[in-house]
Amino acid sequence: MSTFAVGQELTPTTFVINRAKLVDYANASGDQNPIHQSEVFARSVGLENVIAHGMYTMGLAGQYVSAIAGNSSRVKELSARFTKPVVVPADTDVELIVSTTVIEVNPDSARLEITATCNGVKVLGMAKALISL
């Protein structure tokens, strides 16, 4: 296990999101809300286009944190506010960039602040994780 220091910034990861991945996530999670799959439906409820599940974005952030921690079983807490939607137009790969800063280090755990941006816009707010060391 690597050691962490408060203020340390860890290498960001870029995730690619597209319509096919939203369908996979909908099937795997059981969340079949049509705003995540149908452009017609999304527009009918006032959205500009299909948006990713907030939980998909958070799930990717969770995988990023799992990789930093070593594996998923070391992730003890994960929280986020869904501040801006990740808009996913048809036939388009949208990039989600996830990065993190270490904000607290304890003998057996570390707290991380997570940043997730899409086209330069922060899509998660107050995103934090607690990992065991």
Binding site: Q63, V65, N71, S79, A80, F82
Partner: protein, 127 residues
């Protein structure tokens, strides 16, 4: 409008869910991850959100107007295939802001009587 009497009341889950390796595999793969030994940190949502939905719908809220506001997971023990869990739900708070009803539901996944994962979902029912 949610009946204020429901706030603070815990609704025990009446059914148990057996977590399958297939379900963990599909969820993990959908996030682009290949290690499926334990469930990803956000996996619990596949169980808790459905329970919260049925609780809030039966309380009269319109799920078609819902937006996910925020989400928190506290994982005491990672979920693995073969775990049999029950989900107890509690409406922790409900308030109305600018006509939108903002409800926070806590869901506890229990393995026998031990709480293994707790989730908090804030759901915004748009006016």
């Amino acid at each position: 409008m949610l009946n204020p009497d429901l706030v603070g009341r815990t609704v025990p889950g009446t059914t148990s869910t057996t977590i399958s390796q297939e379900s963990i595999d599909a969820f993990t793969r959908s996030l682009g991850e290949t290690n499926t030994e334990v469930a990803p940190p956000t996996y619990a949502i596949t169980i808790t959100l459905e329970q919260s939905q049925s609780l809030l719908q039966s309380s009269g809220l319109d799920w078609s107007r819902v937006v996910h506001g925020d989400q928190r997971f506290v994982i005491h023990q990672p979920l693995v295939a073969g775990d049999v869990v029950r989900c107890d739900s509690t409406i922790e708070s409900a308030r109305v802001v600018a006509g939108n009803e903002i409800v926070t539901v806590r869901a506890d996944l229990l393995k026998e009587s031990e709480c293994v994962v707790s989730t908090w979902s804030t759901l915004v029912f748009r006016a």
